[in-house]
């Protein structure tokens, strides 16, 4: 009995990954939409009506925390793909990094805006130059820098390498964001969910984790759509593309 093994290296070639990505998109997009609706339902109709300390505005947590987590996760993923593209000269790695950057930037922006809308009633200010907020703003600038750098260089492979250097060096900011509330005095609260404790009511926690799942699936779906566009734009002269549907 011999097990048939999947040759994963095969999918490092854009020509093989392009149709696979097309098949995977609905598998992530449809559950993402379902989870978004379910998460909002649990968050607004099942979770306790009012938090003892945070009143009704605590409900911002269901979008703020998933967006902040996605901003950080996607940056690490982008740097990893950019690093693979750089170290192994793998075109698809660089294309994936390019595809992840706008989604990561959008989630980081959402975390900053929703954080500001939460900070106003909770702290009395829209913004403070606190370690958590400032390092998240730097993350936003790193995304913008990566996107701008890549689009400002005409030679695609040179742009990939320059972007990879920025992405890999910028990874240092992610643990700084995560541990900033422990390392420095901060207005921002500490981690609500850690590996061994959940400081939330079960229904609140469920709503938040469902929304985290929704954001993950959404991100995978849009990144796959975008990487297909990037493949089409970069490999437009390739004969295999003429036979592939858009």
């Amino acid at each position: 009995m011999s097990k048939q093994r999947i040759n994963w290296y095969k999918y490092a070639a854009p020509a093989n990954f392009y149709p696979l990505a097309g098949k995977l998109i609905p598998l992530f997009a449809v559950p993402a939409a379902i989870l978004f609706i379910w998460g909002m339902y649990v968050g607004f109709f099942v979770a306790p009506p009012t938090d003892a300390q945070q009143h009704e505005y605590y409900r911002i947590i269901y979008i703020h925390v998933p967006a902040a987590w996605m901003g950080m996760f996607l940056y690490v993923l982008m740097a990893l793909y950019a690093g693979i593209g750089w170290a192994f000269n793998a075109r698809l790695g660089s294309m994936m990094a390019q595809a992840i950057a706008p989604t990561g930037a959008i989630f980081t922006f959402i975390s900053l805006v929703t954080g500001s809308l939460w900070g106003r009633p909770a702290w009395g200010v829209w913004w403070v130059w606190d370690a958590r907020l400032t390092s998240t703003l730097i993350l936003m600038f790193l995304y913008i820098g990566f996107i701008s750098l890549q689009s400002s260089i005409d030679d695609v492979r040179r742009a990939d390498r320059a972007g990879a250097v920025l992405a890999v060096v910028g990874v240092i900011n992610v643990p700084i964001i995560y541990f900033s509330v422990q390392w420095w005095n901060s207005l921002h609260q500490g981690a609500t969910i850690t590996s061994n404790s959940f400081k939330m009511a079960p229904s609140m926690r469920s709503a938040m984790l469902i929304m985290v799942g929704a954001c993950w699936l959404y991100s995978i779906a849009v990144v796959l759509v975008r990487v297909r566009h990037i493949i089409r734009e970069r490999e437009q002269e390739a004969p295999w593309l003429a036979e592939s549907p858009a």
Partner: protein
Amino acid sequence: MGGFGFYVWGSYGISFVLLAGEVLMLWKRKRNIARRANPEIASSETQLNTSLQGIQ
């Protein structure tokens, strides 16, 4: 929302607009790629637009 509707709905509204905007931009990009790959579609659309402008 206990007087905090602006903050709560504002957060979800902005998030929805940004994510929907991302999907819309991807759809537009796909359409532009298809147009570039198929100049006949682009030229027929241009002709259609010109004729419509002529009617208006």
